[in-house]
Amino acid sequence: MKPGGIDFSTWYADERETVVRSLLVIGGDPEGARDAVAEAFGRAYERWGRVAKMASPTGWVYRVALNEIRRRERRRRIESRLLRRRPAPPAVPPPEVDPDLWAAVAALPPREREVVVLRYVADLREREVAAVLGISEGAASAALVSARRRLANALGTVTADPPPPPPDPATTATTDTEEASAP
């Protein structure tokens, strides 16, 4: 199919690795991430005529994939409780990955983990991150600042200087006076 000039096969082949990597870092197990990717891209193909014309077809895929993962995770949590199953221990991170960063990301609150992964692993712009998660851009920005700060504190390192948010007279100004400094 080639409406709007984007070929589905090419787009899928280009995007699928980054999508599944992002889902894995956000916290999906490999099987869940793979299934979510297949489901989301399958749905995109199902309605490719419309998805291809969106400003961010990939953003749409992230949205669907995250919903799939959340749904599975919710169901799994409930079932393990109902069956009085012991919750599974956390997975050992893959050896080639920065284990301290992996643990620090895993320890973030879910919203902050999602924004920081979508922003830096999936490499979406902040506006796209907000759209994927269905939150306001302000909420996405706030979550990003908080996530970076937590990671910096956990790892004892610095964040790159993010550009300050545009001044908004309706809110109090914030300054990053609490940014951790490198030892």
């Binding site: 096969s9 992002s22 599975r72 919710r74 759209a131």
Partner: protein, 298 residues
């Protein structure tokens, strides 16, 4: 010293990924979904509406269709591999728990999830069969063992279709929706998991009105979640004698592709996307003859 941002980018690049299906496989999966919908014999009308547009969905009455509910496929095997996120506890803080995301669950299921962590539940209203539409604290926040999570519960009865199934469906972006009714709200559409329910969307049928009464024009159509989302829900009530709705542009283009959801009485709904704005809703009977047509009001 490498910045957090650079380390995150590198983290993504080094994660080992499972083998992924090839394009042909994914495309086949998408085609199968489409064929499954069409095989049910549904004339679905896909509408794309902006925040100010109204859109219409329809389904042939009597079809016991249940497509894409908000719940996972029960035939799917439980995944074996554990997730890598935190499992309800906060590292280094034995008395803190991470509040789970329970919006969209029944109160009973939410209680199970929350109480199993050693937290308490305080439900503001509704019975245990009601649906959680809001929670405080939010998912992901830390809470001391023994403290309460307060739940907002949708005090809704659930209209059911001819097969007795609760009316629910799924938006294109995966969010679930249901139809509820109450003395306070009438018949309304609620989106989950993060939306607030009837108060947020507004009543579809005012309290006390009869859902089976033929409705016209803007009263018959509407949409839920009027923001620039990737998908929203459009709904319609069919006038007497009509069995399908199709959406027509002024230049004659007809929008008929789309998803289908469970019908009840004369209420139809289906997920939509922003962008395309058909001008007219045409209601047709079983033979395809035109029963009525109304402009879709913005």
């Amino acid at each position: 010293m490498t910045s957090i941002e650079d380390r995150l980018r590198h983290l993504g690049a080094t994660v080992a990924t499972p083998p992924l299906p090839g394009p042909a496989n994914v495309m086949r999966r998408g085609r199968q979904r489409r064929h499954r919908r069409r095989a049910l014999g549904l004339a679905a009308a896909a509408v794309v509406a902006t925040g100010s547009g109204a859109a219409v969905y329809s389904l042939r009455q009597g079809d016991p269709v249940s497509v894409r509910t908000a719940e996972p496929d029960p035939t799917q095997p439980e995944p074996e591999a554990p997730a890598t996120g935190p499992r309800g506890t906060v590292e280094g803080e034995p008395n803190l728990r991470v509040v789970p995301d329970v919006v969209g669950l029944t109160v009973a299921d939410a209680r199970t999830a929350i109480e199993s962590l050693g937290l308490a539940v305080s439900a503001r209203s509704g019975s245990d069969a009601g649906e959680v539409v809001g929670q405080d604290p939010a998912a992901g926040e830390a809470l001391h063992v023994g403290r309460s999570v307060t739940l907002d519960v949708a005090d809704l009865d659930r209209p059911r279709n001819a097969d007795g199934a609760v009316i629910r469906g799924q938006l294109l972006d995966g969010r679930g929706w249901t139809v509820g009714s109450s003395a306070a709200h009438g018949l309304c559409v609620t989106l989950g998991p993060s939306d607030l329910g009837c108060d947020d969307i507004g009543p579809v049928i005012p309290p006390g009105a009869d859902p089976a009464t033929p409705r016209k024009g803007a009263d018959a159509t509407g949409y839920a979640h009027p923001t620039t989302e990737a998908s929203a829900l459009a709904y319609a009530f069919l006038p007497a004698g009509a069995e399908t709705v199709e959406l027509v542009h002024d230049d004659g283009r007809t929008v008929t592709d789309g998803l289908v959801v469970e019908p009840t009485e004369r209420f139809w709904a289906m997920p939509i996307e922003p962008g395309d704005n058909p001008e007219t809703a045409v209601y047709r009977d079983a033979a395809g003859g035109e029963v009525a047509r109304f402009p879709i009001d913005g």
